[in-house]
């Protein structure tokens, strides 16, 4: 059962080196061979450090795993990936780390705290705005996905994530590409803070993940834009070397990379890794 994981991790290594998106579909298909190892002894407490944007979908998967293994208790620590990476560097005990980008995962693997990480999803930014659209933003009548430069006026109040956190790194890349690097009015500490300010109507627009837009439902409007694809961030997951509960950690990662995990991620709005 365990050995079958070598296949996806090999495919992952390929996907990591080749930055193009073409191999993503193949890679996801190959992960489907691993199914949840229900026969394993999985019990005790499992501690999962995960990016804030994974809150809802990981909660669901965690409930499912606990239903399959009644003796298992899962503790989630959801926060900005950078904050989590810093906590792990400082020796926080955890079994699994799921980061919102590869840079923060690299901090953990470079520090020798985890072996290879496997990407399991990716996310793209969207331009979210309050439902009543106070700045009167307009989407041009074109076929295909417009550039963010066509959606955003320079004088709007714009919230983005701080460049220190993954969504902010992606936002900076998007805005730099479009020549709009000087438009943001506030650099928030995580993506949910951006979403809150959009929901409250205190900013005209914000750059948030597609998954956040789906979470917010009809409380915000949102448009996709063309620069998001190139600036998308991949979510890697790794079992930490010093995991107190490696069996449960592996079971969680297996579930995440299984068909079920893939479906849950897709439903939440994530893209292929």
């Amino acid at each position: 059962m365990r050995r079958s994981l070598l296949v996806p991790s090999f495919a992952v290594a390929l996907a990591l080196t080749a930055c193009g998106g073409s191999s993503a579909g193949e890679e996801a298909a190959s992960t489907s061979s691993s199914s949840a190892p229900a026969s394993e002894e999985v019990s005790g407490t499992l501690t999962v450090f995960a990016a804030a944007s994974l809150t809802d979908v990981f909660g669901e998967l965690g409930d499912q795993l606990m239903a399959d293994h009644p003796d298992l208790d899962i503790q989630f620590n959801f926060a900005g990936s950078s904050a989590l990476a810093a906590q792990l560097e400082q020796g926080a005990p955890a079994d699994v780390f799921a980061s919102a980008d590869e840079a923060q995962m690299a901090r953990v693997t470079d520090a020798g705290l985890a072996g290879d990480a496997k990407p399991f999803a990716s996310n793209r930014l969207m331009l979210a705005f309050p439902v009543d659209n106070p700045a009167g933003l307009e989407r041009p009548e074109t076929a295909g996905i417009p550039s963010i430069a066509d959606l955003l006026d320079r004088d709007v109040t714009l919230a983005v994530c701080a460049p220190e956190v993954p969504c902010g790194a992606a936002a900076a890349e998007v805005l730099d590409r479009a020549g709009l690097g000087d438009v943001p009015d506030t650099y928030e500490d995580d993506v949910r803070a951006v979403l809150t300010k959009v929901q409250l109507g205190e900013v005209d627009a914000g750059l948030v993940y597609r998954t956040d837009v789906l979470t917010a439902g009809d409380q915000v409007g949102a448009w996709a834009f063309s620069e998001a694809e190139a600036a998308r961030n991949r979510y890697p997951v790794a079992v930490l070397d010093d995991a107190p509960n490696p069996e449960a950690a592996q079971a969680f990662v297996d579930l995440l990379l299984s068909d079920e995990g893939h479906d849950a991620l897709t439903e939440a709005g994530f893209f292929e890794p």
Binding site: S82, A86, D185, D189, E202
Partner: protein
């Protein structure tokens, strides 16, 4: 005479917890000093944005203290001396920011002063003035969180003060405003000073309400605590350096003030 040698000694049941308390409060700061990257200190200090964040922090904390003094001292007087009904409810209400998580305080400020807020909405519609994401918002957030410290200190000083001086002033024909200016205020000056220092220190360290209500933009709303928090996510060493700068500046300011101001007032 028999009390003299004992008077200088601290009883063991007090000494041990006091020593533990001191260690608990001081050791983390020592930890910062030990872990500080002294070799790269110069480079970290010269990093862009550090001076800006420090300047903004000092200015906004000082402005927040001034606003708190102007509004908080009269409020403390009302709480300590007036006989209005519902005074204890009023006291509970104005100390709510002490227990409210500052992030919630920031959201609450949005609901009142944001551009969709109860007061901020009409202001925005009529004049196009939007308070969030400005330095004004930083000062307001800090004032919201820090003013209760000043109010409580000053109210305590007023209650502990001898009201008979005020009665004497009244019998000599001074009205209540004159009494307040010429008698009450000088009497409680040390309490006001102590409260102002507490208030300033709390404002200087304010994080939650500021990042929520004022956002985070270098030079406009990014104060030192915000810079420290974000640096911590990227590079903990930089965060330690920023914290040490904040620590050094606040200690220097407080020591200076104590000598100049508190030192004269407090025996």
């Amino acid at each position: 005479m028999s009390r003299a040698p004992d008077g200088g000694r601290i009883p063991a049941p007090l000494l041990v917890p006091a020593a533990l308390g001191t260690a608990f409060l001081v050791l983390p700061v020592v930890g910062l000093l030990v872990r500080a990257p002294w070799s790269s200190l110069g480079a970290q200090l010269a990093a862009p944005g550090v001076g800006e964040a420090l300047r903004l922090s000092l200015i906004s904390a000082t402005l927040a203290t001034l606003v708190s003094l102007v509004l908080g001292v009269p409020l403390a007087w009302v709480l300590a001396r007036s006989r209005i009904r519902g005074r204890s409810v009023l006291r509970a209400l104005v100390t709510v920011p002490l227990v409210l998580p500052p992030v919630v305080g920031g959201v609450a400020l949005f609901l009142v002063l944001g551009r969709r807020g109860v007061l901020g909405g009409p202001l925005y519609d009529a004049f196009g003035i939007s308070i969030p994401f400005t330095t004004t918002a930083v000062v307001l957030a800090e004032t919201f969180v820090a003013m209760p410290f000043l109010v409580i200190s000053v109210e305590g000083a007023l209650r502990a003060g001898d009201a008979r001086f005020e009665d004497v002033a009244a019998t000599l024909g001074a009205d209540r405003w004159t009494t307040f200016r010429r008698v009450t205020l000088p009497l409680v000056a040390p309490g006001v000073a102590a409260g102002a220092v507490l208030c300033w220190a709390r404002a200087l360290g304010e994080f939650g309400a500021t990042i929520t209500f004022a956002g985070n933009f270098p030079g406009t709303t990014q104060t030192m605590p915000l810079a420290v928090y974000l640096a911590l996510q990227r590079e903990p060493e930089a965060a330690i350096v920023l914290s040490l700068i904040l620590l050094a500046v606040s200690l220097a300011t407080l020591l200076l003030l104590r000598d100049r101001w508190l030192g004269r007032a407090v025996p």
